[in-house]
């Protein structure tokens, strides 16, 4: 019932996190599309490898936020994560996998195509 009501009155889709302006891009890679994950991938696209703390510093994000989103990317196979010890401190290093690079390029190409189709200005 509630569902049919929503279907009738709201063109912008309800639910789903994130500001409304960022929804409704069709067929885009959802794993990369999220802002923090997009920032992680963009940053690693221009830095071969970065430690957790370096990445955190460059992105200006929190520990929790970064580790949650880095894990999502890792699960998708886009991010490789190497854990080691520097003295007694654990060190995590991230780099993009070949698959991650391809996915990023595809995502950017997809956006570029959308821009072309929209014929903006």
């Amino acid at each position: 019932m509630a569902r049919s009501l929503a279907e009738k009155s709201h063109a912008p889709k309800p639910g789903a996190a994130g500001p409304p302006a960022r929804k409704a891009l069709p067929d885009l890679d959802r794993v990369i599309h999220e802002r923090v994950r997009l920032a992680i991938v963009s940053t690693l696209a221009v830095n071969e490898k970065l430690s957790f703390n370096e990445l955190k510093g460059l992105l200006g994000t929190t520990d929790g936020n970064l580790s949650v989103h880095a894990r999502k990317l890792e699960e998708a196979g886009y991010l490789a994560c190497a854990k080691s010890f520097e003295g007694r401190l654990p060190k995590t290093e991230y780099r993009l996998t070949a698959e991650g690079k391809r996915a990023f390029e595809k995502y950017v190409a997809h956006l570029a195509a959308l821009v072309g189709r929209g014929r903006i200005r």
Partner: protein
């Protein structure tokens, strides 16, 4: 928009503007992640003032060695000011100094400076100190152009300014050397220091 069924394709113009927004976000993130932005503006200006002071003092030097001593002291002072203000600015903006762009900036800045130090030693031993001002300006400019490849665009422009000044100085009368040093490490450094400070947050 209101009456549109749920599964419809959104307005292409709107889609395009979101895509543009996203592309801009990607470009800005990549730029931030690949250029070193903690170049010291006010720090550079202070280095410039100290260089003008050194130039003033060095005109009263009684020997070539005394003149060189004054400028070496100034070089150490300038390096200390630079290191301190870069560290402070990087900390203020939360930029890691030994990773990514900052690391590349410092690694490319260093070799020409090391070459300058070695050349200084060799020329002093050969009694050719008159060549030093031109070489210093040229090599400092080289260091800044090279390091500036990993920084905001104004930095390599400043480096080119130093290189030009050094190149001219090498072919001018040796007695103009101190004036060239004052113009480069003093005036040029202050002008760009203030520009960087105003545009790039200190």
């Amino acid at each position: 928009m209101e009456k549109r069924p749920l599964r419809s394709v959104p307005d292409p113009a709107e889609l395009g503007s979101r895509a543009i927004d996203n592309l801009r976000f990607i470009r800005e993130t990549m730029e931030r992640a690949s250029s070193f932005t903690a170049v010291p503006g006010w720090g550079g200006a202070v280095m410039g003032v100290s260089a003008l002071t050194a130039a003033g003092i060095s005109t009263k030097a009684k020997s070539a060695d005394e003149w060189l001593g004054i400028w070496l002291a100034e070089a150490f002072l300038a390096v200390a000011i630079g290191a301190w203000t870069i560290t402070a600015k990087a900390r203020r903006f939360g930029i890691p100094l030994f990773a990514g762009p900052a690391r590349r900036f410092l690694l490319t800045l260093s070799p020409p400076l090391a070459a300058g130090a070695l050349t200084t030693l060799a020329l002093q031993r050969a009694g050719q100190t008159a060549l030093l001002p031109g070489i210093w300006l040229l090599l400092y400019g080289t260091a800044v152009v090279a390091g500036g490849a990993f920084s905001v665009r104004i930095v390599p422009v400043m480096g080119i300014g130093f290189m030009l000044l050094g190149a001219i100085c090498l072919f001018c009368p040796p007695s103009w050397g101190t004036a060239f040093l004052a113009a480069g490490f003093g005036v040029l450094q202050i002008v760009f220091g203030v520009l960087i400070a105003r545009r790039y947050g200190g």
